[in-house]
Structures are given as structure tokens and as C-alpha cells.
Assembly symmetry: C2
Homo-oligomer: 276 residues x 2
């Protein structure tokens, strides 16, 4: 693991690191904020999965999470959104290929074998971080924005016991029925739609739900509402009687200004679960 940078931030350290990933077969870059408390022992960790076109960097510099994570004594991990580099497949559209891994393990050429973002976020990167930093691996939570909200919700439900709490900002809630999903699932997982439902937050909620609290915020002025389909997730939450808070926030759009505006509440939500 190579240290790209380490910067003092809210009395903790905002680091950027690079490492070879077995899952993706590429070099990967991630951000990690460690609060001051980590100098005295392991701390909980909140994973932040980013949206389309983002790298590890966008949320790290725009979401304003370090302030609240420092206050709560929680680490923050910012993975990249896809593999990158020589030999990695891409598409000319912004929502497939680079910056658009959708947090699944691709089974189809040319995306396999590099686009293994579920394995990367669930196995590879946690292994690396747990080995190198003072993290309490029994206290993990996950959140994300847009495609990263989809990632947080689906990975959280697909890996029971891993995360204590799930939250999402403007998540893609029903990719099987959305142009932010159908194209990508066809590309990464193949045309058989039965394989898709295991990566659709609304289908997963209907099928199994989550053993812990969920918080979902979407801006009522989000111009991507028809792509996000939060109502489908709400319906599944109600049918399952899942512990959840689902909110539409008047006036807010899809931007990081929206994410930053509700970050304090999301981190307080996770802190309650992580410190319980």
C-alpha cells in the first residue's frame, strides 16, 4: 500500500492510498479519514460509496462528512467507483464503465474480470484497511450517494451481519426498472433479468430486508426522480415492516449540496448504531 497523501483534518487524518487489488486486478485508490480517537485504539468505520462519474475524491472533498465523523469518533472510507487503468474496458457514455461500476461483480466480457466492485468493497479493501489501520471490524456501517446509495443498500442487504446500519442519499432504488440500471446490469451481469434482482434494493428489500435501521433521503426537486424510483423502495419497506426512515426533502436536488446538508443527521444515525 502506497501513501498518496496524509492531511490533518478536523484533528484527524484524511489520507489517500493506492494499492494493487486482487479483486479488480488493477491499482486502486481510496480515501480514508481516521479520527483522532484512532490513536488510542480501534474505531468504528462508515463506508461512503460514491455515484456515477466520481472517484474516491469527490465525496472526500465535497460531502463535509469529516466534521461529523471527527465529532463521533468514526473513520470514513471512500472507495473508487470502478477499476481504472491500462486494459480496463470502458464505454463512451458516462454511466457505464469507468466511474460506473455499480458495485457488482461483472460476469460478462469485456467487463469481467476487472469490474469486480462488490468483491473489492466487501472483501479486498476491508481486508487492506483492517490490516493497516485501527478499525473495529465489528462496528461497520455504510452509506452512499446515487449509484453509491444503490451500492450501500444492496451490499448492506446482500451481506447480513456486516453492517449495523444503512443509509443513502438519493439512491438508485430500483435499477431493474431504470435507465440507471438496466443498461448496466445487461452489460455487467448479462441479459437474464433473474440475475439482476439480487442487486436491486427494492427487490432485496422484498426478498430479505435488513436486520438494523435504514435511513434514506431524497431531494424532492431531484431531476432524476424517475431514475431513482424511491417510491418502489418505500413500498417494499412498508410490505416488509422494515425499520426505516424514508424522507423526501423539499427543495433539494441531486447535488453534493444536498448530501452535505443532511450529512450531520446521517452520521448521527450511524453513530447511534455503531456505538450501541
Amino acid at each position: 500500500m502506497e501513501v498518496v497523501s496524509e492531511t490533518c483534518c478536523f484533528d484527524g487524518v484524511q489520507g489517500v492510498y493506492r494499492h494493487p487489488s486482487k479483486a479488480t486486478g488493477t491499482e486502486m485508490t481510496f480515501g480514508l479519514f481516521m479520527p483522532q480517537e484512532a490513536q488510542h485504539g480501534p474505531v468504528p468505520i462508515l463506508w461512503f460509496l460514491s455515484g456515477l462519474t466520481c472517484t474516491h475524491e469527490n465525496a472526500m472533498i465535497k460531502a463535509g462528512a469529516q466534521c461529523w465523523a471527527a465529532e463521533a469518533g468514526i473513520a470514513l472510507a471512500y472507495p473508487d467507483t470502478s477499476p481504472r487503468g491500462h486494459g480496463v474496458a470502458d464505454d463512451e457514455s458516462y454511466d457505464l464503465g469507468l466511474g460506473a461500476g455499480f458495485y457488482v461483480d461483472a460476469t460478462q466480457a469485456p467487463w469481467a474480470p476487472h469490474f469486480m466492485m462488490e468483491s473489492y468493497v466487501i472483501r479486498d479493501l476491508p481486508d487492506l484497511i483492517m490490516s493497516n489501520f485501527q478499525i473495529d471490524e465489528d462496528r461497520q456501517a455504510i452509506t452512499g450517494h446515487s449509484m453509491g446509495g444503490h451500492g450501500a443498500l444492496t451490499l448492506g442487504m446482500r451481506h447480513p451481519g456486516r453492517f449495523r446500519s444503512l443509509s443513502a442519499f438519493a439512491p438508485i432504488c430500483n435499477p431493474m426498472a431504470s435507465d440507471w440500471g438496466r443498461k448496466q446490469m445487461t452489460a455487467y451481469l448479462g441479459p437474464d433479468e433473474t440475475a439482476w434482482s439480487a442487486h436491486d434494493a427494492s427487490a432485496l428489500m422484498a426478498d430479505r430486508g435488513f436486520d438494523g435501521p435504514i435511513l434514506v433521503d431524497t431531494g424532492a426537486a431531484d431531476s432524476n426522480m424517475d431514475l431513482l424510483r424511491p417510491e418502489t423502495l418505500a413500498q417494499a419497506i412498508a410490505a416488509r415492516r422494515q425499520q426505516a426512515t424514508w424522507r423526501l426533502q423539499p427543495g433539494y436536488d441531486h447535488s453534493y449540496f444536498f448530501v452535505a446538508s443532511f450529512m450531520e443527521e446521517h452520521i448521527a444515525f450511524h453513530a447511534e448504531a455503531l456505538w450501541a
Copy 2:
């Protein structure tokens, strides 16, 4: 004035606007955050001047100020750092020309007549903002980062009565004695150094000081310490018995992570003066 974007942010509105400026003779773009309170009447305003290479956008998306300004009911203005566009002179180095206006009115070709950033920030842009938004023009304060910290301190002292409080993050404190200053003052103001001292925070402090509180933070790990020369300003503050808080913050560097880490305290500092 043209609305580039208006985005809901911490219950207020983060706007970006474009307008023709008489001072610079160019189109200028600026950011303005208006807190929710502005719907009910005029609010105070805090000006944030940015550093080398920045546009209006960097601090707006990276400094995390809206959170605290919303809490305090204060507007935030983010001017650009230089004129831009067709016919505007530039230099190949990052610290002269575009993105490097140094908040002075240039007297020398080819920088005059466009590089009139003092007139822009002190006259043109305030006139526009006061005419179009609910701002209490008697309640203004100013801050900035690096070159923008130099701008905040020098404009604050050069225009007594305009601002109630001054603060700065890692400001250039003594440009007459710094490579972040001598080259630019030669270019914009000419080789006669007697013209420079009216734009040097340490010289202005020695000469006249400021009728109000000052807060200056610099990271103790700032790799530009020799260019910033905060000690020269501290010496002048002491000699004048100026009301001031001057801090070196252990571990912090020159980045926006440093700025964001102390933003809450700077806005609280200004709020106390603005609401007095």
C-alpha cells in the same frame, strides 16, 4: 445579472451568478449563499476571498462554510480571483494573471485595465449584490484563504468602516517580502515599492490597524510558511496593540481540509461581530 444555478443547501440557497463588471470590463462569475432567514429580511454577509488558481467555486464546494453560515443566519459571497475571458492578459505561471488577481487594482500594462480586483470586490460586486439580494449592508465581514487571506486583511484595513471583523486562513501576510507578492506587485503596481506597502497586511497593520477584531489561523505544517510570513503580521499586531487572535494550528497544512477544520470557529467569530 444571469442566474447560472440556484441549489437548495442547508435550508438556504447556494447560487452562482454571472454579470458584466464595470470594474474589470469583463463578465464575472460569483457564488452567493443566502440563508433561509433572508426570506424574512436582510441578513449580514461574510465575504470569502479565495487563493491562487481558484475560481468562485473552490471554497463554495470545499470549505464547508454554508453549514455554519446557515446556523448563524449569514450570507456568504464567493468572488472569483481574477478577471477572465477574451482579451484578458495572462502569464504562464500559476501565480500571476488568471486566478491570481491579488485583490489590487493594476496600474501597469498589460494587466490594467482588466485586473481591477479591489474595485470589483469593494465596489462593483457589493453594489450588484446589495441591489439584488436581501443583505444588510451595515453588517459585513471578510475572510479568505492564502492570497484571499491577504485580500481579506488588506481590503479590511484599506476600507475602514466597511467590515466589522476580519479573519484569514493561512494568509499571505507580508507580500512585499515574499515570492508570493513581489513578482505580482511588480507586475500589477510597477517596480516602485513605495506603492506596494498599501497592499501589504503587515505594513497596513503597522500603519493603521483595524477598528475591530481579527482572527488569523495558519497550519503549523504549512509548507508555504516562508511565503506566508505570519510572524511579520504578529509582530505588527503586537506593536499596534491590535485586538487579534493569531494561531498556529499543529499538524495542519495549506489545504481546504485545514480551512474546513476551522470554518466553524471563524464563522462563529464573525457572527459575534455581525450580530452585535
